[in-house]
Amino acid sequence: MIPLSWYLLVAAALFCIGLYGVFARRNAVAILMAIELMLNAVNINLVAFWRYVTPEESTGMAWAVFVLTVAAAEAAVGLALVISVYRNRDSVVADDLDLMKN
C-alpha cells in the first residue's frame, strides 16, 4: 500500500542531495560521486513509473538499464579525466582548475 508519490519524493530528495553535492563540494571526485547520486535518483523515478503505470511492458526497465549503462561509462571516463588532470596540474580541487577563466 505504498503510493507512487512516496517513491517520487524519495527520488526528488536524493536528486536534491546530489545537486547540493555538485554545487558545494571542492574536490572533483566528490562532485562525480554526487553526479552518481543524481543518476540513481533518476533511475528510481523511471522504475517507479514503470511499475505503477505499465508493468507489463519492458520499456521502463529497458530505459533504466540504459541509464545505468551510460552512467557507468560516464563515471569511467570522468574519473580517468580527473586522474589525468591531477597528473598535469597536481590538484583536483575544482576551484584551482580555472585556466580558461577570463
Partner: protein
C-alpha cells in the same frame, strides 16, 4: 504494514548515507557511504519488482564504479588532504537552491499523485502482477533488446558507447612519460 516499514527503513538508509556522501570531510568515508546508498537504491528496485535491475545495480555500481571511485581517490591524494575544507564558497546558496528545488518538486508531485496512502487516490498502490508476468519479465526485457521494433538500436549504440568509454578512459589515463606513473 510491513511494506511501509520496509520503505521507511530503506529511505532512511539511502538518504542518510547520501547526506554523508555530500557532507563528509574524509573522501574515503564518503565513498563507503556512497556504496551503502547504492545498496539502498537496489533495495528500492527490489520493492518495485525489478529484481534484474537490482542485481545489475549491485554488479555495476558497487562492484565496479565504487572500485573506480576508490582508485581515483587514492591516486589523487596529497599529504595535507585531511585538513582541507570540503566545501567551497557557494555552500550557503547551494543549500538554499537544493531545498528550493526539493520544495518545488514535492509540490508538483503532491498535486498530481497525492501522498496519503488510502486507496481512493490514483496510483495509490501497485497493481498486483500475475506470477507469469513476474517470472517472464527478464525474458521479456531480453526480447525487447533484440527486437527490431523495440530497442535493438539503443542496445547496439550502448555497446558502442561502452567501447568508446573503455578505449577513451585507457588513453586518457595512460601515463605520458615514465615519471608520471
Amino acid at each position: 504494514m510491513f511494506e511501509q516499514i520496509l520503505f521507511v527503513l530503506l529511505t532512511i538508509i539511502t538518504l542518510g548515507s547520501a547526506i554523508v556522501v555530500v557532507t563528509h570531510r574524509n573522501l574515503f568515508h564518503a565513498a563507503l557511504a556512497l556504496m551503502v546508498s547504492f545498496a539502498g537504491v537496489a533495495g528500492f528496485y527490489i520493492t518495485l519488482d525489478a529484481g534484474f535491475l537490482a542485481a545489475a545495480q549491485l554488479l555495476v555500481y558497487i562492484g565496479a564504479i565504487s572500485i573506480l571511485i576508490i582508485f581515483a581517490i587514492m591516486m589523487t591524494r596529497r599529504l595535507m588532504q585531511a585538513t582541507e575544507q570540503p566545501f567551497n564558497s557557494q555552500r550557503g546558496l547551494s543549500i538554499v537552491g537544493a531545498l528550493a528545488s526539493l520544495v518545488i518538486m514535492a509540490l508538483v508531485i503532491a498535486q498530481y499523485w497525492p501522498i496519503a496512502p488510502n486507496s481512493e487516490v490514483p496510483m495509490a498502490s501497485k497493481t498486483i502482477l500475475e506470477d507469469a508476468i513476474l517470472q517472464g519479465s527478464v525474458a521479456e526485457l531480453g526480447r525487447s533488446f533484440v527486437n527490431v521494433d523495440a530497442f535493438v538500436v539503443p542496445f547496439e549504440l550502448a555497446s558502442v558507447l561502452l567501447l568508446a568509454a573503455l578505449v577513451g578512459a585507457i588513453l586518457v589515463a595512460w601515463p605520458k612519460t615514465e615519471d608520471q606513473t
